[in-house]
Symmetry: C2
Subunit: 243 residues, 2 copies
DNA sequence: CAGTGGTCTAGACCACGCG
DNA sequence: GCGTGGTCTAGACCACTGT
C-alpha cells in the first residue's frame, strides 16, 4: 500500500513531467495543497521532500515551492585523460576562485602523502551556473610545485588551471574515489542546497611518474544534478584465458 | 541556532563515536529517548534519521534502533582493467544470482545500442555480506553473445562471471556513469535500506573494438557504505603545451 | 499478547521575503 | 504586516517482531 506521501508525490510528479506544471511555476502554498489533498501539512511537506530530492522542486523559504527548470546536469569527466575537458565540463559558466596558503593536516596530509604541516596552496573554486552556485572544488598543491603565478589571487580561473597543467612533472596516475554523503552545513549553505540532499563527493589524487602526489582535490557536487563519467580503454587486452 | 534535531543527533553521535554506545547495542525505544530529551517523538525520529543517513544507526521495524557495526565499506573498482578484482570487491561474501531472458526497451535498448525488442539475458545479482543484502546489480548481455552455459539458472556466481569474461570479443572500452539518486521502492526493500537513503547508481557500458556494446550493467549500492574508485594511468603523456 | 517503529493528524510558534 | 516555508508538539492508529 503506497503511503499518502508517495501518492501525492506521484501525482505532483506526473503533473510536472507531463507539463501541466511548468518550470519556474510556483506551486500553491503548502497549506493550500494540504487542503486540496486533505492531508496534514507535515504529510504534504514529506511529499514535497521527495520531489525536492529528485530535483523536480525547489523550496524557497518565504516565497514558495517552485518547479525547477530542467537543470543542465553537471558532468564530471574523470580519468584525467583530457584535463581541459574536465575543467570545461565542471565550469560551464563561471567559476570564482580564491587561493590561499594552508598547511597539510590529517586526512589532507595523508592524501598528499606529505608530513603534517607541509605548506600547500589551496585553490577554492566555486562554480556558478545562472543564478546559483552549483559545484565546489578544493584543490591542493604542494607549495613547491605551485608556480608563483598560480598563487596570485584573483587570477582568472582559466589561467590558474592552465598554470596548474604546466606544473613540473606530467601527471602519470589519477585516482578518483567517489562517495555519497550528506553535505556539511557549510557545503549546504555554500551550494544553496538542503542539508538533506546527498552530494557526490569526489576525492582526486594526481601523482607523477615517481609516485609523488602533485595534486589532491576534493570536489562536491549536488547529487540531484551531477554525474561522473569514467571511460577506460583497453588498448591491448590479452586475456590469459582465465589463468 | 541549531535545531533540536541536530542537537540530539550530535549528542547521540558523540556517544557513539566515543564508544559509550557500542556497535550492536540497541538504543532505548524512541518513546523513551523522546522523554529523555523532552522532545516529541517526531523530533526524536528526525534526529535518528540524521544518524541513519550517516550510517551510524540502523532502524529495524518492531525491534528497535541499533548502533551499526563499523560496516566494511563496499568498494566498486571501476575501469574494468582487472575485471576479476571488481567482482571480488563487489562480492566479498556471497552473491545470489538469477538469470532471465528479457527484451530490450527504452533506456536499456539505448544503452545497448540495440533496437527495441532485442532479446537479452538479464543477470540479476544480489550481493550479501553477513546477514543483509548490500549490493544490487542488473547485468544485460545480448542473447547472441551469452553462451548457453551462462543462461543456466542457479549456476554459481563465479562461473557465470568467468563465463561472461570469456565472451567473444575482448572488451575494448568501458564507460561508467555514476550518479546519486534515491532508491526505487523496489530497490529499497531489496537492499533493506530506507527509501530516504541515497544510493550510488553506476551504469556501465562495455564495448568491443568494433564499438558494439557487449554488456550493460546497472549497479545500485547503498550510499552510506559504498565507494567507487577509478584509477587512470597516463602511460605517455605528451602534453601539447596548451594547444 | 506487549513492545517496537511507521505513518499521520491538527494544530502551534518562529524565521524569512516582500510589499 | 502578511504570506510563505521551517520546526515542533502531543497525541492517534497501524504494522511488524518477539513471546
Amino acid at each position: 500500500m503506497p503511503s499518502r506521501r508517495d501518492t501525492i508525490a506521484d501525482d505532483l510528479r506526473h503533473r510536472i513531467v507531463t507539463g501541466r506544471l511548468k518550470p519556474g511555476d510556483r506551486l500553491p502554498s503548502e497549506a493550500h495543497l494540504a487542503a486540496q489533498y486533505t492531508v496534514s501539512t507535515p504529510t504534504l511537506r514529506n511529499a514535497l521532500a521527495v520531489l525536492q530530492a529528485e530535483g523536480l522542486v525547489e523550496k524557497v523559504h518565504g516565497k514558495g515551492n517552485f518547479i525547477r527548470r530542467p537543470v543542465r546536469r553537471i558532468t564530471y569527466v574523470g580519468g584525467g585523460r583530457t584535463p581541459d575537458r574536465r575543467i570545461v565540463d565542471l565550469a560551464p559558466l563561471s567559476v570564482s576562485v580564491r587561493t590561499t596558503k594552508v598547511r597539510a593536516r590529517g586526512h589532507l596530509a595523508a592524501l598528499l602523502k606529505m608530513p603534517t604541516g607541509s605548506p600547500l596552496t589551496e585553490i577554492l573554486c566555486l562554480g556558478h551556473e545562472g543564478e546559483g552556485p552549483h559545484s565546489l572544488a578544493r584543490i591542493y598543491v604542494p607549495c613547491d610545485l605551485a608556480p608563483a603565478a598560480a598563487l596570485r589571487e584573483s587570477l582568472p580561473y582559466e589561467e590558474i588551471m592552465t598554470g596548474l597543467m604546466e606544473l613540473r612533472p606530467p601527471p602519470a596516475e589519477v585516482r578518483e574515489e567517489i562517495s555519497v554523503r550528506l553535505p556539511t552545513s557549510e557545503e549546504a549553505s555554500t551550494l544553496r542546497i538542503s542539508s538533506a540532499l546527498a552530494v557526490l563527493a569526489i576525492t582526486r589524487q594526481t601523482a607523477d611518474v615517481a609516485g609523488r602526489v602533485v595534486e589532491a582535490a576534493l570536489l562536491v557536487l549536488p547529487g540531484d544534478r551531477a554525474d561522473a563519467v569514467f571511460t577506460a580503454h583497453h588498448m591491448i587486452d590479452e586475456r590469459p584465458a582465465k589463468a
